[in-house]
Point group: C2
Chain length 225, copies 2
DNA sequence: ACAAAAGTGTTATAAGTACACCCATGG
DNA sequence: CCATGGGTGTACTTATAACACTTTTGT
């Protein structure tokens, strides 16, 4: 990626993907350890790479996402394009950043086992980041927080079936504030997004919780909070 | 722009700017007549051009905006990046689209006089558009409508001093629906965005209107409608 | 029987919506 | 004096916010 860029007269395009999920009651970001100078190996970066001449930018993002996670049917949306001249020390690269949400339960299976240098980091204790990836990740975090309030994207963070408390926790973790249980349920039901399964979650030393699923698993604009 | 691109192995970057204003009670878009094949001269496009290797994408957008309008201090925000493989018949060009808002009163002075092939078109009767610019302009229109409801960007469409009715009309024109005068004023005042000047607008055959100005002329997130 | 999370309504406050008349001016 | 847009308040409806106890399970 690095040296080859010098010969271009114009900027070239890359994508970077901020992959988010919830693990251990924390919002986490998938990062890859940097190897190239000038970034010592204490630096990490969101996965990304150049857009090929025969693929759309969206497809480049999908390709890189699939490579890194192995998971399919992931929520992916364009975030913002970062085009400062010196954002990449290896050359003039403009990055179209995306953000992706993957369900908590799919997570432990893939990724971290193949590469020792791919790792989840909690959003609130990120390592040193290469390029302008700090800015990119912050923007992804903001977008996620806003979008949670006016859309149903939470579906892409949860397993197929889940309890109302799990759903509420996801909101609380991302928004960083506690929500009232009764008001939360009232609101969620009023927007008709959930379908009650007839299953319940047993096994914990308390009253079992009803399991729900999303009735629509495509992005919908609905005001939730 | 055209032939030179073939030699690049990767996509190159351009910006396109959707410049919007209100003229004659209509939301209008600034377009430039196309000359190059395969677009006959019935095709128009939003102004744009390649990003130079030594300028940021934001600066490229500002530069092109200044060239086309001659106006300074214009509201400009990144809209979305369009990266389909075949969006540009001249080569593999990824476009970072921006949208700009310019005040109604600055408008008549510049632009249209210098170039016969630069022209304002009402949003609701656009000509044939080159590239994917129809999609881009639609996206700009959507963004503007949404943003009007949760921010103060209206300031960038109005002259320094304006009447409440002028402000309300701007909202109505962009949102394509009538608003209640009293409720509109109540809301606008409640968010503390306006400052009453001690001037009034005379000259029309009716009671003169008080002139207001925005107290903050930078983008603010406030829920207005 | 106890600990732990599930589940469930009501009241108060704030925000949004609908609606009609008088006022000040220029011609 | 009349046509035109400017300016103002109230009642109703809907949404949001605060708040506590009973239920069901596993150990």
């Amino acid at each position: 990626m690095a040296k080859t860029l010098k010969k271009y007269n114009y900027a070239v395009i890359a994508t970077d993907i901020v992959i988010l999920t919830i693990i251990k009651q924390k919002l986490q970001v998938l990062l890859i350890k940097m190897k190239k100078v000038p970034y010592s190996n204490n630096f990490w970066a969101a996965p990304g790479g150049l857009v090929k001449p025969d693929e759309s930018v969206d497809n480049a993002a999908k390709r890189q996402l699939a490579q890194k996670t192995g998971v399919k049917n992931i929520y992916l949306e364009q975030l913002y394009t970062f085009g400062d001249v010196n954002r990449d020390p290896f050359g003039r690269v403009v990055s179209v950043a995306y953000f992706a949400l993957i369900p908590s339960d799919n997570v432990n299976l893939k990724t971290t086992k193949d590469y020792g240098d791919v790792q989840w980091f909690p959003m609130d204790s990120l390592p040193k980041l290469a390029y302008d990836h700090k800015k990119i990740i912050e923007k992804a975090n903001n977008r996620l927080q806003k979008k949670l309030e006016y859309s149903n994207i939470a579906y892409s963070l949860l397993p197929k079936e889940f309890t109302l408390t799990q759903l509420q926790r996801s909101y609380e973790i991302i928004l960083k504030r506690r929500l009232d249980k009764r008001n939360f349920r009232k609101k969620i039901f009023s927007v008709n997004l959930l379908k009650k399964t007839n299953k319940i979650q047993r096994g914990s030393a308390n009253r079992p919780a009803a399991l729900y699923e999303f009735s629509k698993k495509t992005a919908q604009m609905v005001s939730i909070l």
